[in-house]
Amino acid sequence: MNRKQKDMLRRILISAALLVCLQLISAQQFSTIDSLLFPGAGRWLRLALYLVNYYIIGWGTLKKAFKGIMNRQVFDENFLMAVATLGALALAIYENGDYAEAIAVMLFYQIGEWFESYAVGKSRRNISQLMDIRPDYANIEQEGHLIRVDPEEVEPGSVIVVQPGEKVPIDGVVAEGSSALDTAALTGESLPRDVEPGDEIISGCINLSGVLKVRTSKAFGESTVSRILELVENAGERKSRQEDFISKFARVYTPAVCYSALALALLPPLVRLLFMGLAPLWGVWLYRALTFLVISCPCALVISIPLSFFAGIGGASRAGILVKGSNFLEALSKTDCVVFDKTGTLTQGVFEVEGIHHSTMEEEKLLEYAALAESASSHPISRSLQKAHGREPDRSRVEDIREISGAGVLAIVDGRQVAAGNDKLMKQLGVEYKDCHSVGTIIHMAVDGKYAGHILISDMIKAHAKAAVAALKELGVRKTVMLTGDSEAVAEHVASRLGIDSFYSRLLPGDKVEKLERLLAEEKGGGKLAFVGDGINDAPVLARADIGIAMGALGSDAAIEAADVVLMDDDPLKIAKAIKISRKCLGIVYENIIFAIGIKLACLILGALGIANMWLAIFADVGVMVLAVLNAMRCLLVYKL
């Protein structure tokens, strides 16, 4: 609680206590002092005491209302409450009746304001705490002592020390030590990641076990943690249609209700008096008009919608999904077409030996020959062979390596003539080869001029890719499309294995934008198209889609920059999760809009008919606000989605 809130709470308590005491003494009991002083003294004393109470609780509001009028900002809630309570007070003075109502209305209004301020402050703190990955200091070793410095002062290339339990403040490379890192704050992934000297390390992770010395590679301002914080903090600036609707609605609503209240106070009594020949009943209609004013405060609406979005974005970022604005959260909930980039998104972008077929010798041996023959190359294919072989190749066993461009290599390994390459190479050598029924890059092997089998190398499909596509279908995504620069055979293989509806292969980066535009043109009925890529060479496509989703963004600045939604790790299942979070959040937003407007309108009608009194009006104002705020906070709960 801040100072203002404490002060208000004190006033609320004093005023409430005083009100209860005053209520215990009836107007008759006050009149008993008339005989001691002068006639009417009891009535005046009673009025004075109630006025003191009104002053305690309502003075701030009266002052604000007055300032508002001076600044020609008449129709705000302070003005409404001031008019409503002063009106009720005047009615009570006139009738020597129930002052409690005017004071209670003001009291409840203040309780509502206080609660709003408290709840919003609390949720603001909660959400910021969830997102608080900001490191406060960095440790630097100086003359054998560790000293704490502001991370902003650390220059790139310095060595910092990260002790167990501390946050990594700046991106860098591990220079000494090994440890496990908790990346949950960034990725939502609870499994710790092991790091050793030479590994890249990202700021915002928490060091779990060992002391690490890290050579920083970036300044603090450019580090992952700073960029993410900046992104999350600025997320509220791009507003969704719902938020704009609500602020426009509030702008019209308050004056409209004020004029209606005025009409309600004047027209029915006049009609009764002039046309129907009945008693005008000014008091009754004035009371109804005042009830109207109390209901008219738009705060429940205006607070709950941005709060829902804020909580939704906070909850999503806790799950490793950064959403750059509530407009994107809104768009995400309407996704009906998801376009994937293949490499790095559905597949790992890492080539691996998937199989060895038709081998005439031990498979291990064939792999060894291939690895040795390719040992001079640094091509990803040759690296994947080395990796599958698992040992550092002994170069001394290889001689006379000849690369035949676009076909493969010839070499002498252990004195045997080894040829490793594609079908062209086999044709050149006049070796009969067997085609492979699997899809991928195929390395045919010939040893001593005879076919010795082939090795199948392919890009590995990510573990969750299939489940991710299925989850999207389950969410009602109409269409899934895959774009790739790879060959048709590979594209078809991946698409059919994952259950993707259609694919386009052999695309250059420019073609991808063109294809995406064609897909965008097919979207109708407000459906949105999301493109998922790794942000490495598809930034233009990310920017062009309704929602650009970049994945595996840890450490990739380009992706964080270009995308609208950033998945911190590279798990494609998060796409479905992001959509689920957005739908839940939007659901709550609509609930709040309908609930708040509905109750207010209902109370307005009841008030006009004279069924609703001030007490119900106060519920319509304060109660609805409290419920809407509590409902909005549900957006934070996204773990089980």
């Binding site: 604000k64 508002g68 900002q73 809630e77 304001e113 903090e233 600025n234 705060c299 941005p306 804020f310």
Partner: protein, 72 residues
């Protein structure tokens, strides 16, 4: 030229009013108030002195919502 300022304001509707008041101030190209983060982002028009514009923004905001604050 864009700059972000910390603000203090009590209710969402008041934040909305501040946004409109700030955006209507001469020299301001656009203004956005993020009530949840208590921040105001102001984009200035070309060749405007930020500090003088912001003083006027604060004055205008105080007019519509006497209880607000912008930390310049």
């Amino acid at each position: 030229m864009k700059k972000t300022y910390k603000i203090d304001v009590d209710c969402a509707n008041c934040a909305d009013k501040m946004e409109r008041a700030a955006a209507a101030t001469p020299g301001v190209k656009s203004a956005r108030v993020n009530y949840m983060a208590l921040k105001m982002t102001v984009e200035f028009q070309e060749g405007q002195e930020e500090s003088t514009v912001m003083e006027q923004v604060l004055k205008n905001c105080k007019k519509v919502e006497s209880d607000c604050e912008i930390f310049l």
